[in-house]
Symmetry: C2
Subunit: 256 residues, 2 copies
């Protein structure tokens, strides 16, 4: 078992039980306490957990769960599956918009294979990745940088979007219930909606676990999307209610 696996596993343990004991995990992984100390120190520095005497805890619901660096690590397999399915909608030569979010970042990676392509995004992770690549025209959306979402937002972003037009917009959402999708942040919602307004085709990418939750702001009616991509069939109420205009695609995880 490698270092990063072990750390990921520690995070997973924390997500389940909210606290871990140092001796405990040292024994479980068969490494010395010192090694675990170092793991916890690094994870603490990364803002993922809080070290306490004898172990570490995670104050769920606070900054942690909404932290980009954490979400980035979670459920990577599901994200990859969704990204790959989404990538099938894209042909070389197209112009696509991709919003903030760690899943979107994975999609960005996948789309970089489809050269030539034009990518419009406010997602800093994608910008960083696409910068170096020839064959990828990168249009960065400006705005005020948000460390929480690792992306740019605000009037500047929305204004820029009002002047652009894409073939497809890929939008992700952290919550959906019934026929509506939700997001907790107003500025983020406005940016996502601006992307939808500026694209011919709209695609929602959503982890199946996010169904049944809501958040402060309504993002969109699922029927507004041409395609909805998830990793499991949609809940019955949602699916039944969805008009014929929206296609639902289920991504299946490829084992690699």
């Amino acid at each position: 078992m490698k270092r990063e696996e072990r750390r990921q596993e520690i995070i997973n343990l924390l997500v389940e039980s909210r606290a871990v004991e140092l001796d405990d995990i040292a024994a479980r992984f068969g490494v010395s306490k010192m090694t675990i100390h170092r793991d916890l120190d690094d994870l603490e520095r990364a803002g993922v957990l809080r070290k306490v005497r004898g172990g570490a805890t995670i104050d769920a619901g606070t900054r942690f769960e909404s932290d980009f660096r954490f979400r980035e690590l979670q459920e990577a397999d599901v994200k990859r599956a969704l990204a790959e399915t989404a990538a099938e909608l894209v042909e070389p030569g197209m112009t696509v918009m991709i919003n903030d979010g760690s899943m979107a970042a994975v999609l960005g990676d996948a789309l970089c294979e489809k050269k030539p392509i034009t990518i419009i995004t406010n997602n800093a992770a994608i910008m960083e990745r696409a910068k170096g690549l020839s064959g990828v025209t990168l249009i960065g959306l400006g705005g005020v940088f948000s460390a929480k979402f690792n992306a740019y937002f605000g009037i500047v972003t929305e204004e820029a979007l009002s002047r652009l037009r894409a073939d497809v917009a890929f939008v992700s959402a952290p919550a959906a219930s019934g026929r509506l999708s939700y997001h907790m942040d107003e500025a983020v919602v406005r940016t996502k909606r601006a992307m939808m307004a500026a694209s011919r085709q709209k695609c929602l990418m959503i982890n199946s676990r996010r169904f049944g939750h809501t958040a402060l702001h309504v993002l969109a009616d699922l029927a507004e999307f041409d395609t909805v991509i998830s990793d499991k069939p949609l809940p019955h109420d949602t699916a039944a209610d969805l008009g014929g205009r929206t296609t639902v695609r289920i991504a299946k995880e490829t084992l690699s």
Copy 2:
């Protein structure tokens, strides 16, 4: 001597003599030819030089000299000096604009010390750096990414600037002659001018070696700037002609 030092040194040799011989540098650094082959291969892939039988050459004036990755390495000491002098104009709490360019990137680093601060920039290097820092509000300017300048340009960028306002704009120029400064790229000029228009105070940063040169497009009359920062006194004709409104500051290299 480490790998990167050696490669930097090879670049420096090339800048001076326009061509190097493989056997020659292998002997000079006391490494095998194979190692030099690999150095040259990588540098060629990076677009810095061209391999020819028996060595490598650099076609001066072409893409190489205008490549961001190269300029970044050159005259780091002068850049630091200019940046430090420029930073003196900034107080915590201010809003500053910084344009593209490697010198600007160094300034970006320096300004990150002056927290709290708001930095508005189209310079990807600065965005990357400022992202992580608390106390620094980063407003990224969107636009079409240019790998050549490692920054964003175009209508989107200019529109964004038209909606923003800063205390100081730091602008750099690759050429100046008489009372005018120049730049070879039209889109870059437009962005720089938009920054000037959106700032109360304007500051030009220019390496003294750039005087006496011109480029395709006029960037600005030096008298439009409130402050001009360079590393040596301005040429006589330039200095004499400059009205009283513009302050000239000479940066002196700090030895560290």
